[in-house]
């Protein structure tokens, strides 16, 4: 095992039961009643490592399971199967109490800064809470100093600590959520679409802040986003997800210069480009299937222009192709895809 692996995700599965009460589950078939569960198979066997100090981005379209993956890694959801390791120690099966020390090491930033800050708490209270909870021995004046320092670091004037979240703009609020995540001095931050709700000029401010903080504090990011041009800018490696599975994992330059998986190719070709005239993107046929009723074999085979019988039967495994790149595609493996 690589010594600087910080987080290791191994064959992670997360399903949601949406079948409701037992009456909702009753189905009449073949002359008798049977109870059937309806499962949303949000994440199905995702594995990858996150190295210390890097930014791994997970990209994919809505419903591909990227946020579920982030929350499962953070233990906000318990996984159905699979393991999460942190610095070589398995953490997904720990009890609440045993897991507590890890909470100070891994923190999360959410998408909507309007929903993720308690509207009835002052900024000071929001930022004090994690410190007081995780380091109860800290004295009152020390907590105040730490709050002021962290506010300074994220670019919010410490004079405003007695204000409420509604008195701040969206960008300022996202700075406060970043401050809250940093208050306990974590090493690993999971950011779930942290800039999706913000305007372009404010997005740039928050991205710059995140890159700056990463340099200063040697943070490791797991960055969830649907915006490929943002991902291209800040990540060291990218994991592309489709319908709960990983299609491709590659270093940033390799992915954007030479995407291997047919889905990655289609996704990249669809990024709006400044100064491009018209559209030359690769069109996909059909719609994304539902995660309740997953297709057999490769989850992408129904929309893939290169799919054959094997793709419909057999689930492709994530296999290394060249330096650092891993692709889950029979076509790439067999070398029958145009490169």
């Amino acid at each position: 095992m690589n010594t600087d692996t910080l987080v290791s995700i191994r064959d992670l599965h997360k399903h949601f039961d949406i079948s409701g009460g037992w009456l909702d589950q009753l189905r009449f078939s073949g002359g008798r009643f049977a109870r059937r569960k309806t499962l949303v198979q949000a994440v199905n066997g995702v594995s990858f490592d996150i190295l210390e100090g890097e930014t791994v981005s997970v990209v994919g379209e809505s419903g591909c399971g990227k946020s579920t993956l982030a929350r499962t890694v953070m233990r906000l959801y318990p996984p159905q199967a699979g393991e999460v390791h942190y610095r070589g120690r398995r953490i997904d099966h720990l009890s609440r109490e045993q897991f507590k020390p890890y909470r100070t090491r891994m923190q999360m930033i959410f998408q909507d800064p309007y929903a993720s800050l308690n509207p009835r708490m002052r900024v000071r209270q929001i930022l004090e809470e994690p410190i007081r909870f995780h380091r109860p021995k800290t004295s009152g004046s020390e907590v105040l100093d730490q709050v002021a320092e962290i506010m300074q670091q994220v670019g919010v004037d410490p004079e405003w600590r007695e204000r409420y979240p509604h008195e701040f703009s969206g960008g300022q609020r996202q700075r406060i959520s970043i401050a809250r995540a940093l208050a306990v001095d974590p090493e690993f931050i999971v950011a779930d679409e942290p800039i999706a709700a913000l305007d372009v000029s404010i997005q740039a401010q928050i991205l710059n802040l995140m890159m700056e903080l990463q340099e200063k504090r040697r943070l490791t990011y797991l960055f969830i986003s649907h915006d490929l041009s943002v991902v291209a800018h800040i990540s060291s490696r990218v994991a592309v997800m489709y319908l709960g599975t990983l299609c491709e994992l590659a270093a940033i330059d390799a992915l954007f210069d030479r995407p291997r998986h047919p889905y990655t190719q289609a996704l990249l070709s669809a990024i709006p480009r400044l100064g491009a005239k018209g559209f030359q993107h690769q069109r996909l046929t059909g719609d994304v299937p539902t995660p309740i009723d997953l297709p057999s074999g490769c989850v992408f085979h129904g929309r893939c222009p290169h799919a054959n019988d094997r793709c419909a039967r057999e689930v492709p495994k994530l296999r290394p192709h060249g330096d650092q790149t891993q692709v889950a595609c029979h076509g790439v493996e067999e070398g029958r895809l145009p490169v």
Binding site: S169, V200, L207, V230, I234, I271, G278, H281
Partner: protein
């Protein structure tokens, strides 16, 4: 007659009546749109781009009102038309497409019913003829098995398909102008590209004018022939797409482009425009961008800069470019 633009907006001013006096959401906006021309309006939230779109249809709802200016469409002054005649233009000569197709489509009527009703409301045709028109439009937006789809309800369509239906409805009466307000912001990138390509193709084949309102400069640059950049209710720059996207004049446009990750080497710092767009109650005197502009001089705080010709067919509102 053909020399005359399809739509001519002159000094459009839209205000909202508030308890503490009026707010100016759109401040003396002027532009022309030729027949079959495609204009993109970009800006951040609160810049007044959507209100401008609604204003063209005279659809600004209370407490908003058109406080001044002229809207000349196919030679008719829209601000002076009675409601009855306006309704003949809306959905007929000018159609509008909104961001969220689930909000625009009626969930309890089949798509076919909604389409046929729209035609019958505007034209004297029989129900059978209306159905034939609806089928034709559904084919135009490339929806598979149109016959079957007409009998389905909006919830049976995916997000991208629903937006295609909305476009098909907008096309029903062969309008001369389509106003699309963030038509793809709720969609995934692959579907966004499909929908925009469709819209672009239809505008070209049907010779329709398009006003595309969006926050995404890259999207606009792929579709529009000209771009207008709005800031705090005013147009700060307008010109040919290649010019505005490639060689912007106004400091705000430059800042906005510099903030796009695509324009900066990977991992490098993005350009930050300091501060925030002012709320409409606190637009600075003089140039609205003066309090965030790094080049700001004394004159900028005193006088409002007029939108004047600058480099290569571009108009920009900045004192310092003269």
């Amino acid at each position: 007659m053909d020399r005359q633009p399809l739509l001519s907006v002159r000094d459009l001013e839209i205000r909202f009546r508030m308890r503490h006096g009026d707010l100016t959401a759109v401040n003396r906006v002027s532009f022309d749109l030729a027949r079959g021309d495609r204009l993109g309006i970009v800006g951040e939230s609160g810049a007044g781009k959507s209100v401008t779109g609604f204003g063209i249809l005279n659809l600004v709802s209370k407490p908003g009102y058109i406080a001044g200016g002229h809207l000349l469409f196919e030679g008719r002054e829209l601000t002076a038309l009675p409601e009855e005649e306006l309704r003949q233009i809306r959905g007929n000569r000018i159609s509008m497409i909104f961001q969220d197709p689930m909000m625009t489509l009626n969930p309890v009527l089949t798509v076919g019913t909604q389409m046929v009703e729209t035609i019958l409301a505007h034209r004297a045709v029989s129900r059978a003829e209306a159905t034939a028109i609806a089928l034709d439009r559904i084919r135009k937006v490339a929806i598979p098995s149109p016959q079957k789809r007409l009998q389905q309800y909006p919830h049976e369509f995916s997000g991208g398909m629903r937006q295609r239906i909305v476009i098909a409805i907008a096309l029903l009466n062969s309008p001369a102008l389509i106003i699309a307000d963030e038509p793809t912001s709720a969609l995934d990138v692959t579907i966004q590209a499909d929908i925009l390509a469709l819209l672009l193709g239809l505008c070209q084949s049907e010779k329709m004018g398009l006003i595309l309102i969006t926050h995404d400069l890259a999207v606009v640059s792929q579709v529009a022939e000209r771009i207008a950049v709005m800031y705090a209710g005013t147009i700060v720059e307008i010109g040919p797409t290649a010019q505005v996207a490639g060689n912007p004049q106004h400091p705000y446009t430059r800042g906005l482009l510099g903030a796009l990750p695509q324009r900066v080497p990977r991992g490098g710092r993005l350009n930050q425009i300091p501060g925030l767009m002012p709320t409409l109650t606190r637009v600075p005197e003089g140039c609205p961008f003066s309090n965030r502009c790094t080049l700001c001089e004394e004159v900028c705080r005193r006088r409002v800069p007029p939108l004047a010709p600058k480099a290569a067919g571009c108009l920009a509102a900045c004192h310092l470019l003269d």
